[in-house]
């Protein structure tokens, strides 16, 4: 490797060895040490310099005291998925510093707190020692405040080393502390102290470089959960029941702050929404269904454990045909252990949740922007199809910062589905709650409170006929189940269509969804550049699938399904789909291959490329 020859301790690397706008920087600190502000200011500065960038927080399930890593990836080609290798490490956690340093590739840089004496560990890295305590003491006379601003020192040091634009840095910092001007001044002083120290004592010797670009003009930077919350706000949500759980809590917390700001009646100050922090997820789901039954746009957000508790209600919602939006921000497995790690492990669970037969509409946002647009779509679909709708996000998408286009204002009215008011009942003549009048499987409904003798009906689970009367007759049950099946088929053409992100040479296709998107894009480039493999890429955005998926599989000899779980859950759903709808080449199912990633970390391009190449090499 070229970098191994580099004498990293001598001068600055030659321009050809520089990693300009193409590196990953990791800050290793201790949970609760207040590094989040420094990291966000750093991220925002790079964003404001016009460079594509993403920030990922890898944090423990703990409030204070355990190690946490924040990774910023700047990449001129918009590769903002995770990159495995760290090019620049800011090592401030004594506990993990040795391991963090040992994991680096030769040629990487380490900025560390002087007393840690990390420079003795390796000779193939660039080390920068910074006396944090001394520097912070000089700018912050009040000892008890030092802990809060100490981390800002590294932003200043990095400003010098990476060539951050100082004006943008100050702007980002003052934005961050806009409500606390005093804190802003103090933090800015810490940045300056770091910068001056670095200018005088730390000649540039590493390869990481930032140069302004123009890639972010007009863009925003946002967490997936904030974007989803804005989707709910502009979808006109009126009833929210929720119970806190990482990584979904911030969705409802953002939503509450937006509702407070923008959904009070201007004349009276009264709320056009209600939010209840329920006693558990059983109750959140009950609140969603009760409100949906009454005609409100209702939602909850949770993660896997909460979905487990909601399963009976969601199954009932499917049979009783009640709208409701359920955000599942996925995380790893049950109970404690890896609750702050990311996964796409609820795919199969969500698609079929409930006892008895059930098939749910599941939306799969792949970008922060789609967390917003698919949230909007979810409310329309839930009411149009009178059914629970899932939005499957994940920790990586939801809690990390992503660059996105400005969120578009929704056009057209809210689509509230087939609801009959008293006048509508007059028009229609006979009303039967569960009758398929239009041949699309979607019945009409009335809302409680409607003043018309034909309006009321009695809602119950499985045992009802098309007039919502109690029935245990086999034919009536079958007729209803078959209609529900038709309704689901109608949804195929109405859910967000998959996106053909890349057209390929015809041989190999890749299917991915959700937060695997950016790593998949990068992997396709790696495969093309390094192995001449030009694969097509179809990004799924919803279940049920439609004809585009089938056509895509039919056009390729080998189709790799990328997903972040062990059991190839999405591949399984695709397999069922292809097998259940015969037609087209008989061997469609046998073309599917699985690429899985399930270590709790966001998926990275290198791992995908390696696995695809490994399978390509096999007969």
């Amino acid at each position: 490797m070229a970098t191994a020859d580099l004498d990293v301790r001598r001068g600055a690397p030659a321009p050809k060895d520089r990693l300009v706008n193409d590196f990953s920087l990791q800050v290793a600190t201790v949970n609760g040490s207040g590094s989040q502000s420094s990291n966000l200011v750093l991220l925002r500065t790079i964003f404001q310099m016009g460079i594509p960038v993403s920030g990922k927080n890898l944090f423990p399930s703990n409030i204070a005291g355990l190690p946490t890593w924040y990774t910023i990836r700047a990449n001129k080609n918009h590769y903002v998925g995770r990159k495995k290798e760290v090019d620049f490490l800011v090592a401030l956690n004594a506990e993990t510093a040795r391991d963090d340093v040992a994991a680096l590739e030769p040629g990487a840089a380490v900025l560390y707190d002087e007393p840690l004496r990390l420079d003795a560990l390796r000779s193939d890295l660039v080390f920068y020692a910074v006396p944090f305590d001394r520097l912070v003491a000089a700018v912050c006379p009040e000892a008890k405040l030092r802990k809060l601003v100490r981390n800002m020192i590294y932003d200043g040091v990095l400003a010098h080393l990476l060539h951050l634009d100082l004006a943008q840095l100050e702007n980002a910092l003052r934005r961050h502390f806009r409500k606390k001007p005093k804190a802003a001044d103090l933090n800015w002083a810490a940045v300056q102290a770091g910068y001056e120290y670095a200018s005088q004592h730390l000649p540039k010797r590493d390869r990481c470089w930032l140069e302004p670009m123009q890639e972010n003009a007009g863009k925003i930077i946002i967490e997936g959960n904030a974007a989803a919350a804005l989707g709910c706000l502009f979808a006109g949500v009126t009833v929210v029941g929720w119970y806190p759980i990482t990584p979904s809590s911030s969705l409802c917390e953002y939503l509450i702050s937006y509702l407070r700001a923008y959904r009070l009646d201007p004349a009276t100050g009264q709320a056009t929404y209600a939010v209840v922090q329920a006693e558990d997820e059983l109750a959140s789901a009950g609140i969603v269904l009760g409100a949906g039954w009454m005609g409100a746009r209702s939602m909850t957000s949770t993660s896997g454990p909460g979905i487990s508790l909601m399963s009976e209600f969601i199954g009932l919602g499917y049979y009783a045909e009640i709208p409701g939006v359920f955000f599942d921000v996925q995380r790893v497995g049950p109970s404690t252990g890896m609750p702050t790690r990311t996964a796409q492990g609820d795919v199969a669970f969500a698609a079929t949740l409930g006892h008895g037969d059930a098939r749910h509409i599941v939306l799969l946002p792949g970008t922060a922007g789609e967390c917003y647009t698919l949230a909007l779509a979810a409310f329309d679909l839930a009411e149009e199809f009178q059914t629970p709708v899932f939005v499957l996000s994940d920790l990586d998408l939801a809690m990390n910062h992503w660059i996105a286009d400005p969120l578009p204002y929704p056009n057209g009215p809210l689509r509230r589905g087939k609801v009959l008011d008293a006048a509508g009942l007059e028009r229609i003549g006979e009303f039967a709650r569960y009758r398929d009048v239009d041949g699309d499987g979607i019945p009409y409904r009335t809302l409680p409170g409607t003043d018309h003798p034909a309006a009321p009906y009695f809602t119950r689970g499985s045992g009802h006929n098309d007039r919502a009367l109690y029935s245990e007759k086999p034919q009536e049950y079958v007729a209803n189940m078959d209609r529900l099946g038709r309704k689901f088929d109608t949804a195929r053409a109405r859910v967000p269509a998959p996106v053909l992100e890349r057209d390929g040479a015809g041989e190999v296709g890749v299917i991915a969804f959700g937060s695997s998107h950016f790593a998949t894009l990068e992997s396709l480039d790696q495969l093309a550049r390094q192995s001449g493999l030009h694969a097509a890429y179809l990004r799924l955005r919803a279940f049920p699938f439609n004809q585009q998926l089938r056509d895509f599989v039919a056009r390729h000899r080998r189709v790799y399904v990328v997903e972040q779980n062990r059991d190839a859950q999405m591949l399984d759903l695709i397999r069922l789909e292809l097998a259940a709808n015969p037609g087209g080449p008989a061997d469609l199912v046998s073309r599917l291959r699985s690429v899985r990633h399930y270590d709790g970390l966001p998926v990275d391009a290198r791992s995908l490329s390696d696995e695809i190449l490994r399978q390509e090499a096999q007969p």
Partner: protein
């Protein structure tokens, strides 16, 4: 002869439901009849009422009254949350929840406590027979300690007192009655329907099929012999003129939210139904006693209900027009700018 009509011009038949499928003689049927009477006498508009229930024989019963009202037979033990969502979406409707002792005191005890704590404006009826009727006679958590099933199984655990739990948890109207006490039950139901807040009614409702042995405190014979009303309950609706004709001391007269009055004529016990401690004391002293206390044990008509605390617009949230629930484009532009 034409049916008598109430003050909104409806007949009792307008409040009936479909034909019951419960056992003949089941206490739950009598309760449905009393709900019909109470709604008729109060002159409620059926379309302004919603009925919700969990799962059980008791929870089936909303199909057997008020067929001109919407109903929702939800899941076992979790009707309170459904009612919460429904009322958040449209708080202009009156809601009646029907549950059983299994539905409430076992699987649903968590939601029950939180419902009481929230003081949601819901008439919450527990049709209490001490057993799981629908699953054929297993003990519930209100079964008597030491009680023996026909199969020989003995209940070794103490019974939960739902009235005491409701008062402890924050309920603002707590009563116990008996499905066979036509007059008292109708009066209590009418008062509960006029109360603005959660009204928890523990109504003893014998299961003739699985728990009507004379030694069971939930049997007809036992309750008839041991019922001990703590007062005579009189409900005076807001549309009747109120004449103040009682001697202070003997009568407690409580004005309910809608202007109606609940008049409790003291029998032999001395206690104040507007005082929590006094109500709890009454219930705990009755423990272990032979008598089955009935009446309105606790009342706090002034305490604001859950919905009142949310500062909601007066119209139903469910049907607000688009422009009241979707902020204008300028708001999104401002938000985008703040993120750029």
């Amino acid at each position: 002869m034409p049916d008598r009509l109430n003050h909104i011009g409806l007949a009792p038949a307008d409040y009936r439901g479909s034909k019951t499928t419960l056992c003949a003689g089941c206490g739950h049927n009598a309760i449905s009849e009393r709900i019909i009477d109470a709604c008729f006498e109060l002159g409620l508009q059926p379309h302004r009422v919603v009925k919700l229930s969990g799962i059980g024989c008791s929870s089936k019963s909303p199909a057997y009254f008020l067929s001109r009202s919407f109903g929702f037979n939800s899941v076992h033990g979790r009707m309170p949350s459904v009612a919460t969502g429904a009322l958040l979406a449209n708080r202009t409707l009156r809601a009646i929840g029907v549950s059983g002792d299994g539905d409430t005191a076992s699987i649903g005890i968590g939601q029950f406590i939180h419902l009481m704590r929230r003081n949601l404006p819901l008439v919450y009826i527990v049709e209490d027979n001490g057993v799981y009727g629908l699953t054929k006679g297993q003990f519930s958590a209100t079964a008597d300690e030491g009680q023996k099933l026909k199969s020989g199984v003995v209940n070794q655990l103490p019974a939960l007192d739902l009235c005491a739990m409701a008062i402890e948890s924050g309920a603002t109207f707590v009563a116990r009655s008996f499905s066979g006490d036509k007059r008292q039950l109708t009066q209590v139901l009418k008062a509960a329907l006029s109360h603005q807040g959660v009204a928890m009614l523990d109504i003893i409702s014998p299961c003739v099929t699985f728990n009507d042995q004379p030694e069971s405190t939930k049997s007809y014979q036992y309750v008839k012999q041991h019922e001990s009303p703590v007062h005579d309950v009189d409900f005076i609706p807001y549309f009747n003129d109120i004449t103040v004709d009682y001697e202070p001391g003997a009568v407690t007269d409580v004005r309910l939210h809608d202007g109606s009055h609940l008049r409790l004529r003291k029998l032999d016990r001395d206690y104040d139904p507007t005082d929590r401690r006094s109500a709890l004391g009454l219930l705990s002293n009755a423990h272990g006693g032979e008598e089955v206390l009935t009446g309105v044990f606790y009342l706090a008509p002034e305490k604001p209900d859950f919905l009142a605390g949310l500062n909601l617009v007066p119209e139903p949230l469910a049907t607000l027009p688009d422009d009241r629930v979707r902020p204008p484009q300028s708001v999104l532009e401002r938000i985008n700018a703040s993120l750029a």
